[in-house]
Amino acid sequence: MKAVDFDYAQPATLDAALELLSREDVMVRPVAGSQSLGPMLNLRLAQPELLVDITRIAELRTIRREGDRLVIGACVTHARLEDGDYPDVTRGVLPSVAAVIAYRAVRNRGTIGGSLAHADPAADWVNVLTALGADVVIAGTGGRRSVPMTDFILGVFETALQPGEIVAEIHVPALSDRARWGYYKVCRKTGEFSHATGAVLIDPARGVQRCVAGATSGKPVVIDGPALFAGGCTEAAMAAHLAGSPAADDPIALRTHTVALKRAIAQVMS
């Protein structure tokens, strides 16, 4: 179980990285913590010709506060987010979520940007950042653009990234002190990917009432508004929201997704 032969570069600047990533003569791919790409390479499910390691680019490893947002560099690791050595505007959401991603040895290398770019529907950041209303800043040789999470994840392993582009930053809006957060994952084992995720945010100060059903074998399903709170989270309601996803047609999956969301909701209602 060894990767195919590939070339490797470790640029020190974003410009140099984007230059390499825009090459069209080889199959090129960025790599960050390699915690998702590594297994795929070893299993030969990914067979790139050139890997561009972006983890040595200093600006991608910073966390800073900009007004009412937290700006997280793409190469910030889950472990760092778990340890909380930054002005956490989410009132504990980021550290608590980071702490339940995989295992510490994986969290020490895996990155928030890699997680989003990988776009596994069951991944924690994919669903949590959608619920938090984060924006993704994408960098390419043509410049930068900001995309809301709801437009960034397009489907299973599918994102708004164009060839040659990378995730540079994630902007997370601050939660008010009245904000309430609920998160529930259905996992068979600790650290294993979720089979159904419910993420819920109520922030009256910003008028947010948001439910996210994740790990649905599609992009996160966002349900805004009060409908699901106060008893509205039923299988029938969820069947409508999940329509089109395979989860809607499988009664057991539908049930599990409903329960995951119901339990996340219960956390904010209690």
Binding site: K2, Q35, G38, N42, A105
Partner: protein, 162 residues
């Protein structure tokens, strides 16, 4: 040898190593095949079992899904490099007393992960130890001896500190 071989220099168990590595070689293979540090074991090569866990700059990491070429300039510590580490020494003693190993294949990764738990989670109760260790699989011991061993080390440290 790969046409793409890269020269890296890193510290392995305190010794500076300069090496030409094919980028596709993962750190586990680099340590085992080139450095002959075979204490680091490979149980899955896809990041799940934890047998290959080593320290990079003092932090636990999976050597099977970290490529050696990415470790240029880093400091890598394997189980062989923990001979004189005080926490590892306490853990070895406790693993033996509590029968925390049978075939010993998961053991090097267990020790590296357990050392991290002892250092980072001195307050851990048994369920917390189990959660913190859940990234390491053992097929022999049923985990009881390992949990007891970590418990023993944490308790002894807390007693000595208090």
């Amino acid at each position: 040898m790969s046409a793409h071989a890269k020269t890296i220099s890193l510290t392995v168990n305190g010794t500076r190593v300069e090496a030409s590595v094919p980028p596709r070689q993962h750190l586990g293979d680099f340590l085992r095949e080139r450095e002959l540090l075979t204490g680091t074991h490979l149980g899955c090569e896809h990041g799940v079992c934890g047998a290959c866990t080593i320290l990079i700059d003092g932090e636990p990491a999976r050597s099977c899904i970290t490529f050696a070429v990415a470790c240029d300039g880093r400091s890598v510590t394997t189980v062989e490099g923990l001979d004189d580490d005080p926490v590892a020494a306490e853990l070895r003693e406790a693993f033996s007393t509590e029968h925390g190993l049978q075939c010993g294949f998961c053991t090097p990764g267990m020790l590296v992960a357990a050392r991290d738990v002892v250092l980072r989670r001195p307050d851990a109760d048994n369920p917390a130890i189990r959660t913190a260790m859940s990234g390491n699989l053992c097929r022999c011991t049923g985990y009881v001896g390992i949990v007891n061993a970590i418990r023993r080390v944490i308790d002894a440290r807390n007693t000595n500190a208090g």
